[in-house]
């Protein structure tokens, strides 16, 4: 009974996914990582390409970190995204020690990729102190810092651990600090401004730099690798859309220095400007004529539909695999133990990690999201199908045998209907989980309401996070209500009336 009802559900889901994949006009997919600067550059790039009219632009912004974006562009899931030379060097050569742009370009050719010329700014680690401290102690360079081991520092977690961060830096310059705290990057500025600490690590384009009275210590012995911003693109993109590539070269290369990037970051991070507005300001346009019109409301509606699509398809896949797996587990108790343990173990993989595991096999976008979400939804379905079947009254099963029902008839007519309460409640749990977990799909370009959350997190914009999170929660409630209704249709009347609902 369950399988018979699941089939049309799956068909609808697949049809919907084909429909979305089926649009056949030239499309350029612009990616970005999940932090403000990358979002802004991504939006600026998208803006330039759109104005050439050469292709429709699909924004795949907020894709996790380099591991995801680099694979995505190498795999062809996106066409280009803003990257940094030091990061590329690390990615390809295993060391961030800066190579020239020409050398990197040579290396990338093997992967079918290329980079443009630097945009002008370098986003590298640096150390900053208050101007007052700098003047009082005559601190101008990192070398100067070695003379003041009495100072206290606050560093972001990444900087504290990375070899190209504090450990390497301290060795290179022979530095020591009286005390070293680890805290979120956003909080270190606050700690420094309030005089709680004396030194913090910064990125050279942080929006807050222009707003606080700070002194950046010069890297006089050249420890930090060069992280020049460049556009990393697929060679076939450059070939297929030459006007777009030339426009990007003309409008962006060498046009953005640290101060300008820092101001753009500040507009988004500190002034709460939306990405199209920041891009418009960059191009000196009036800010309202952006694309993607219809505003946030329309965007939420579109993303909610995409979210539902993610949930429906992955849930259908999970049901299609989970119910038979549950049946198998109930039939073969020993195999069943192993199976339930395996499915349970899958569940303990953090969902984001699971999503990332899929990338090498399935790339980014919808497909890996479907698979990862389906894997996640599997446990409650398998477990409840199993427990529902093993809890069916033994005597009723014997009677089914005595009445001459064969294995298939017993399963379809007796066991599954009797277990339907359990099975449906498992599917319901899975559906509600999936509605929540699906927000993570945005990290690998799967879209959905998570896209707003990812952007909100990157831009430190709570209203944007809520614009994604609240509809996602409402959707989960709606799905729950939908299943209550489905219960009435699928659960046999004789079971509904007098059997306690399993929890």
């Amino acid at each position: 009974m369950t399988a018979r009802h699941a089939a049309p559900l799956l068909a609808v889901g697949l049809a919907a996914s084909l429909h979305i994949a089926g649009a056949e006009e030239p499309v350029v997919r612009v990616g970005s990582k999940a932090f403000t600067e990358s979002f802004i550059l991504g939006e600026i790039v998208a803006d330039v390409i759109e104005r050439t009219g050469e292709a429709r632009v699909e924004r795949r912004f907020g894709l996790g970190d380099t591991g995801i974006t680099y694979r995505a562009v190498a795999h062809g899931d996106i066409d280009l995204y803003p990257e940094y030379t030091g990061t590329l060097s690390q990615m390809i050569l295993g060391t961030p020690s800066a190579r020239s742009v020409a050398e990197l370009r040579q290396e990338l050719r093997g992967a079918g990729l290329t980079i443009g010329n630097p945009l002008g700014f370098s986003n590298t680690y640096a150390l900053a102190v208050r101007r007052e401290t700098s003047q009082r102690l005559d601190l101008r360079t990192i070398s100067d810092l070695a003379r003041h081991p009495e100072l206290e520092g606050a560093f972001s977690p990444g900087f504290t651990d990375r070899e190209d961060g504090w450990p390497g830096l301290a060795r290179h310059y022979g530095l020591a600090l009286a005390r070293l705290r680890v805290m979120e990057h956003a909080l270190t500025y606050e700690a420094l401004a309030r005089g709680k600490v004396d030194v913090i690590d910064i990125y050279s384009t942080d929006g807050k730099l222009g707003r606080l009275d700070l002194q950046i210590l010069r890297d006089d012995r050249r420890f930090f690798p060069d992280y020049q911003a460049v556009l990393l693109a697929r060679e076939d993109f450059v070939r297929r859309f030459p006007r777009s590539w030339r426009a990007l070269e003309r409008e962006l290369e060498g046009r953005i220095d640290e101060a300008r990037m820092s101001r753009l970051n500040a507009r988004a991070d500190l002034d709460g400007k939306r990405l199209p507005e920041v891009a418009a300001e960059f191009f000196g346009r009036a800010p309202s004529d952006g694309h993607g019109g219809g505003g946030l409301g329309a965007e939420i509606a579109g993303l909610a539909a995409e979210h539902l699509h993610l949930v429906v398809v992955s849930l259908a896949v999970a049901v299609l695999f989970g119910v038979p797996l549950g049946i198998l587990a109930a039939r073969r108790p020993r195999l069943g133990q192993v199976e339930l343990m395996a499915v349970g173990a899958l569940q303990t993989i953090p969902s984001l990690a699971l999503l990332c595991f899929m990338i090498p096999f399935l790339g980014i976008g919808k497909l890996p999201a479907f698979v990862a979400l389906a894997v996640y939804a599997l446990l409650p379905i398998v477990r409840n199908t199993h427990s529902g079947l093993v809890s069916v009254d033994r005597q009723l099963l014997e009677i089914a045998v005595v009445l001459g029902l064969d294995r298939r008839q017993r399963l379809v007519r007796i066991e599954l209907p009797l277990a339907s309460l359990h099975i449906l409640s498992g599917i319901k749990t899975a559906a509600v989980w999936t509605a929540g977990t699906a927000t993570l799909a945005a990290f690998i370009g799967g879209g959905g309401l998570g896209a707003l959350i990812v952007r909100g997190l990157a831009l430190d914009d709570v209203s944007l996070i809520l614009a994604g999170a609240v509809p996602a929660a409402l959707l989960a409630l709606l799905i729950h209500a939908g299943f209550e209704l489905l219960d009435r249709l699928l659960i046999p009347a004789g079971l509904r009336r007098n059997f306690a609902r399993p929890t």
Binding site: A400, V402, P417, G494
Partner: protein, 264 residues
């Protein structure tokens, strides 16, 4: 399989059920301990004993739901084994305590399940259901209800209709009236007897109730600890008890109304 087969009245010389040297162990406990016996066709046999005496296990051995560790069980001349089970089950009706109805199916679907599994035609099923409704005195509207909407007595009657659907020559009833209140129980006892008598079916009833045993049984088989203590008519057991246990067992329960006349 031929549903008409049950119509033959069997002579006493042809055993419907033949059990030879059967032993069955569960984990450490011996449920059936070297039992040999036979049940003649066309009669009503009662398996009597307290719980754990092995009487229900004997029924399950006949049904092929459990297989013996040693010895053999034959039904209608056929050895009970996995390869013959499906054929044999078509010739056996089975009724359990409280009816054992499937809660998710209507009474009618419960009744027709065995016929559907054998791909009977619609008309044949309908005709048989009508016949059986008349037999147990049901308005067919009752059959549209689910088991939870039926009374205990109605459930038991549905269970009986289900067992009789294929018109099997052999009927096995495991404590069929065990859960019913006394009035309904006595009512149904009489009705069952009225149904069984003209059908000339072989009936095996498991019970721990002596009154019921006396009321139904052409023969009574008293069991304890997996063995048969005595087999015979009720008069045999009460007048010529094979052991003190027989007398003790028969005296342990207060005789129900009507039993005295029966004994006199």
């Amino acid at each position: 399989m031929n549903p008409e087969r049950g119509r033959e009245v069997r002579s006493g010389s042809c055993p419907m059920i033949q059990i030879e040297g059967v032993t069955k162990r569960f984990a450490d406990a011996v449920a059936i301990d070297g039992v040999s016996t036979r049940f003649e066709g066309g009669l009503t046999h009662v398996l009597l004993g307290s719980s754990g005496s092995g009487k229900s296990t004997l029924l399950r051995l006949i049904l092929g739901l459990v297989s013996p560790d040693s010895g053999s069980v034959r039904v209608d001349g056929l050895l009970v084994e996995p390869s013959s089970q499906r054929t044999l089950l078509g010739r056996i009706g089975y009724v359990v305590q409280e009816g054992g109805l499937f809660p998710h199916l209507t009474a009618r679907r419960n009744v027709t399940l065995a016929a559907e599994a054998r791909r009977w035609e619609r008309e044949r099923i309908d005709a048989r259901v009508a016949e059986l409704s008349t037999l147990v005195g049901f308005d067919e509207a009752v059959l549209a209800l689910h088991p939870d909407q039926l009374s205990g007595g109605q459930r038991q009657r549905v269970g009986l209709m289900r067992a009789l659907m294929l018109d099997p020559p052999l009927l096995l009833l495991d404590e069929p009236l065990g859960s019913l209140d006394p009035l309904v129980r006595s009512d149904l006892q009489h009705q069952l007897k009225e149904i069984f008598t003209p059908m000339a079916k072989t009936v095996v009833i498991v019970t721990h109730d002596i009154g019921e045993a006396a009321f139904f049984g052409h023969t009574i088989t008293l069991m304890t600890k997996g063995r048969i203590v005595q087999q015979g008519t009720f008069a045999d057991l009460s007048r010529r008890p094979a052991s003190d246990f027989v007398t003790a067992f028969l005296n342990a329960q207060k005789p129900p109304p009507g039993l005295r006349e029966l004994l006199s």
